[in-house]
C-alpha cells in the first residue's frame, strides 16, 4: 500500500516529478563509478589544460602506446586545482604517474611516503641529466622521486628594439651600479625602470630569491628557506635595503597588478626591464612573432663579488610516480620513457618549442631566445627552484606572500615584518 501511495503521489506532483527524473540520473551516476584496474594500463595525471602543454603530454602518451602497446590514459586537470588538491589526490586515488615540480615541493610529499622511489630509473637514464637536476630530484632520504622534463629561467627581460632606441645595452649591466645607472636612465626617459607585480603574492618572490642569492649566496638562501637561518638576520635586512633602492623605479601599482599586468607594461613599451620567468615568451609569441623576436633575457646583475652571478631560479617541471596508484611498475616504465630523450622527441614532434631538461636534446634547433635562456642558465653554478617551491607550502603561501605585500605597502616596517615572519615560521607545526 505504501509503495502504491507514494508512487502515485510522486507522479502527480510537478516538482517531485522533476526530482524523480533525478532518480534516473542516480542510475547513470553509479555506472560511471569505479573503474580501477591493477595491471597493464597506466593512468597519467597531467596538471594543465593549456593547449600547447596538453598537446605535448598527449604526444608522449601516443608515442609510448605506439612503442609498447600499453594503453595510457591521460587525465587533464587545471594546474591550480591540481596543485591545491594534491595532498588529497595523492592520499586518495591518484593516477599512476603524474606531473609535478622538483625541489622541496616534491620532497614534502616524498617524506610522507606518497611518492614511489624511482632511483632505479635514475640508474638507467640518469646520464641524460645534469647533476644539479639530480639533486633537485632527490628526496631528503637520498633517493630519487622525480624525473625532470622541462625548465625555464628567471631573469631580467627587455625589448631589444626599445633598449637600442634609448642607447642602453642591458648585456653590459653586470653589477648593481650598472643596474642603478640603467634604471636612472630609463626613469629619465619617462619610463618605468623595472615592471613589477605582486597582487598574486608570489610574483615578487622571484626578486627576493635573486637578491638574497646575489647578496648572501646560494647556501644562505637555501638555509633560510629550510629554516636553518633566521629571517631576522641582518643579512636578510640587507636584501630588503637593496630591494628598497629598486622601488622608486617600479610602477606605483605593484600590488594592483598580477604578473601579466607587469608583462603588459613591457609589451606596451612602458617599462624597460621585467624580472620574471621566461615562460611569458609564449604570450609575446601569441601577440606576434615580431614581439617574440624582440624579447631578450640577461641574468640579474652581481651585487656581492663573492657570489658573482652564480645562482639562478630555474624551476624544474617533471614527472613522478604516486605510491597509491594501482600500477607502480607500469608507471615507472612510463616515466622513464617520458623523461628520456624518446619522450623529448615525441614532444618536439608537435612543433611546439621546448626547453627540455634532457642533456641529449639537440639545442641547435632552439630559437635565439631559447638559446639565450640556455646561456643565462649556463652561467649559473647553483639552481634554485623558486621560493614557493623551495620552502614549506604552509609557509610560502600564507606567510611569505602576505608579508612581502605588506612590505610593499610600507617598506619602512621591514624589521617588524621580518620578526613576524620568523615568529610565524617558529610557530609552524613540525612535519
Amino acid at each position: 500500500m505504501l509503495n502504491k501511495i507514494s508512487g502515485h503521489e510522486v507522479d502527480r506532483r510537478l516538482l517531485l516529478k522533476g526530482a524523480a527524473a533525478g532518480g534516473l540520473g542516480i542510475a547513470g551516476a553509479t555506472m560511471l563509478a569505479g573503474c580501477a584496474s591493477d595491471s597493464g594500463p597506466v593512468t597519467f595525471g597531467v596538471r594543465t589544460v593549456d593547449e600547447s602543454p596538453m598537446a605535448q603530454a598527449q604526444a608522449i602518451v601516443d608515442a609510448y602506446t605506439a612503442k609498447t602497446g600499453i594503453e595510457v590514459t591521460a587525465n587533464f586537470t587545471e594546474s591550480n586545482a591540481f596543485q591545491n588538491n594534491l595532498s588529497q589526490y595523492l592520499q586518495g586515488t591518484p593516477d599512476d604517474a603524474f606531473q609535478w615540480m622538483a625541489g622541496y615541493r616534491m620532497q614534502f610529499f616524498a617524506d610522507q611516503g606518497l611518492l614511489v622511489d624511482i632511483s632505479d630509473v635514475w640508474d638507467e637514464i640518469g646520464d641524460q641529466f645534469s647533476d644539479s637536476y639530480k639533486i633537485a630530484s632527490t628526496g631528503s632520504d637520498g633517493n630519487q622521486y622525480f624525473l625532470p622534463q622541462s625548465w625555464y629561467p628567471w631573469g631580467l627581460h627587455f625589448r631589444k628594439s626599445m633598449m637600442a632606441e634609448i642607447g642602453l645595452n642591458p648585456e653590459d649591466i653586470y653589477n648593481w651600479d650598472d643596474m642603478m645607472a640603467a634604471l636612472e636612465e630609463l626613469k629619465g626617459q619617462g619610463l618605468i625602470g623595472l615592471a613589477s607585480a605582486d597582487k598574486g603574492g608570489w610574483e615578487a618572490m622571484g626578486t627576493f630569491d635573486i637578491l638574497n642569492a646575489r647578496i648572501n649566496g646560494y647556501q644562505f638562501h637555501v638555509d633560510l628557506l629550510a629554516g636553518r637561518e633566521k629571517w631576522t638576520d641582518d643579512k636578510v635586512k640587507e636584501v630588503f635595503r637593496h630591494w628598497e633602492m629598486l622601488l622608486p623605479y617600479m610602477n606605483t601599482n605593484v600590488l594592483d597588478l598580477e604578473w601579466d599586468g607587469a608583462m603588459q607594461l613591457l609589451l606596451q613599451r612602458q617599462a624597460g626591464l621585467f624580472m620574471n620567468g621566461s615562460w611569458f615568451g609564449a604570450n609575446f609569441l601569441e601577440q606576434s612573432q615580431e614581439d617574440y623576436d624582440d624579447l631578450w633575457i640577461v641574468p640579474f646583475p652581481e651585487i656581492n663579488p663573492d657570489h658573482g652571478r652564480d645562482t639562478i631560479d630555474a624551476p624544474l617541471d617533471g614527472i613522478a610516480v604516486a605510491a597509491n596508484g594501482s600500477n607502480d611498475a607500469g608507471a615507472k616504465e612510463f616515466v622513464k620513457f617520458a623523461a628520456s630523450i624518446e619522450g623529448v622527441e615525441a614532444q618536439l614532434s608537435t612543433g611546439i618549442p621546448l626547453t627540455s631538461a634532457n642533456n641529449l636534446q639537440d639545442t641547435s634547433a632552439y630559437d635565439p631566445f631559447q638559446k639565450q635562456q640556455l646561456a643565462v642558465m649556463g652561467e649559473a653554478k647553483y639552481i634554485t627552484q623558486f621560493l614557493d617551491r623551495d620552502t614549506r607550502p604552509d609557509f610560502a603561501g600564507p606567510v611569505v606572500g602576505p608579508s612581502f605585500q605588506e612590505w610593499f605597502r610600507d617598506p619602512s616596517s621591514v624589521d617588524s615584518i621580518l620578526e613576524s615572519m620568523q615568529s610565524q615560521w617558529d610557530a609552524l607545526p613540525p612535519l
Partner: protein
C-alpha cells in the same frame, strides 16, 4: 472654514505632492545608484567577454574596442567541454535535491507532528549541523570516504564518485531544509493532522497523502534554492573527487585559466555561460524564489 475647504485645497495638494515627489526622486536616485553598482560587474563581464584578450594585452582594459564578437563564447564552450561537465552537474544536483527534499521533509514532519521526548533536540541537532563550515570538516570526510572505500575494497566507492558528492550535499543542506520545512509545517493547523489520525491514517499515509500536498509551496521554493546552491558548489567536488572530468561545471571554468596565463576575456565568456542556467531557473521560477526568501520567517 468653508473657504479653507473650498479654495486653498489645490495648492495644498500640489505642495504635498511636491514634497512626495522630492522624496520619490531621492529614493529613485538612491535605488538607481545601487542598481548600477549591482549591474555594473555583470555588464562589464559581458563587455569583456565580447573582446579578444590580445587587444587587452596590447592596449589595456580601457582601450577602445576594435573587434567585438562572440568568438570567446565559441572557444569557451569548446574548451570547457560543456556537455561532459554539464552532465556531471545534472548527475549531482538532481539526485541531491531530490534526497534533500525527501529526507528533510520526513524529518520535519516527524519532529513537528509527533511529540516525543527528543523532537526539539533532534531539530536542533539537524539545524546545528548546518553551522559547521565545510572547510573545517572536509579532511575527516575525505578520510572517512577513503576508509569506507577500503572496507568495501574499492577506493572509488564514495571518493572520486558522484555519489560521495551527492551524499555530502544531502548531509549539509538537510539541516536548512529541515529547519525551513518544520517552520512551515508549524503554520499548518494541527487539526488537519488530528482528523487524519482519527480517520486511521498510518504515519506514512499521513505524510504522503496529507502533509506532502500541503508542502508544495515550500518544497518548490526550497528546491529552487537548493538547485542554485548545489549548482554553484565548487569546493566539495574539488576535494572529494580526483578525476577532473567527473567534476561539475564550476570546475570546468578552471579549464579556462592557464597555469600562468589567464585569458580573462575567455573566462568572462565562460562565466556568463556557467551563470546562465541559474539565471534561467531564477526567471522561470521567480515566484518560488522570492517566496523562498521569506520561507519560515513568520514562525520558528
Amino acid at each position: 472654514m468653508t473657504t479653507t475647504v473650498k479654495v486653498p485645497e489645490l495648492p495644498k495638494r500640489t505642495k504635498k505632492l511636491y514634497a512626495q515627489d522630492i522624496k520619490d526622486r531621492f529614493i529613485s536616485i538612491f535605488i538607481g545608484i545601487f542598481a548600477v553598482v549591482w549591474v555594473f560587474p555583470i555588464v562589464w563581464t559581458l563587455w569583456s567577454s565580447l573582446r579578444p584578450y590580445s587587444e587587452i594585452r596590447a592596449g589595456g582594459v580601457f582601450s577602445p574596442p576594435q573587434e567585438l564578437g562572440v568568438f570567446n563564447y565559441a572557444s569557451a564552450i569548446d574548451r570547457m567541454e560543456l556537455p561532459t561537465y554539464f552532465t556531471n552537474t545534472v548527475l549531482i544536483t538532481l539526485p541531491a535535491v531530490f534526497l534533500i527534499l525527501l529526507l528533510g521533509s520526513l524529518i520535519a514532519f516527524v519532529v513537528t507532528r509527533y511529540s516525543f521526548k527528543f523532537n526539539v533536540a533532534m531539530l536542533l541537532l539537524f539545524t546545528a549541523g548546518n553551522l559547521l563550515p565545510p572547510q573545517l570538516v572536509f579532511i575527516p570526510v575525505f578520510k572517512l570516504y577513503l576508509l569506507l572505500g577500503d572496507l568495501v575494497g574499492d577506493r572509488r566507492f564514495l571518493y572520486d564518485n558522484h555519489w560521495g558528492v551527492i551524499l555530502i550535499h544531502v548531509a549539509f543542506q538537510m539541516g536548512f531544509a529541515t529547519f525551513v520545512l518544520s517552520s512551515y509545517m508549524k503554520t499548518i493547523p494541527k487539526e488537519i493532522s488530528e482528523s487524519a489520525m482519527v480517520d486511521g491514517a498510518s504515519v506514512f499515509t499521513h505524510y504522503f497523502r496529507v502533509m506532502l500536498p500541503l508542502l508544495r509551496p515550500p518544497l518548490a521554493s526550497l528546491g529552487v534554492l537548493m538547485i542554485t546552491w548545489i549548482y554553484n558548489d565548487f569546493f566539495w567536488a574539488l576535494v572529494l573527487m580526483s578525476t577532473d572530468n567527473k567534476r561539475p561545471i564550476t570546475s570546468a571554468l578552471g579549464r579556462l585559466t592557464g597555469e600562468f596565463v589567464t585569458d580573462y576575456n575567455l573566462l568572462a565568456a565562460g562565466a556568463m555561460i556557467a551563470a546562465l542556467p541559474t539565471l534561467i531557473v531564477f526567471f522561470v521560477l521567480r515566484k518560488q524564489f522570492v517566496g523562498g526568501l521569506t520561507l519560515g520567517s513568520t514562525k520558528g
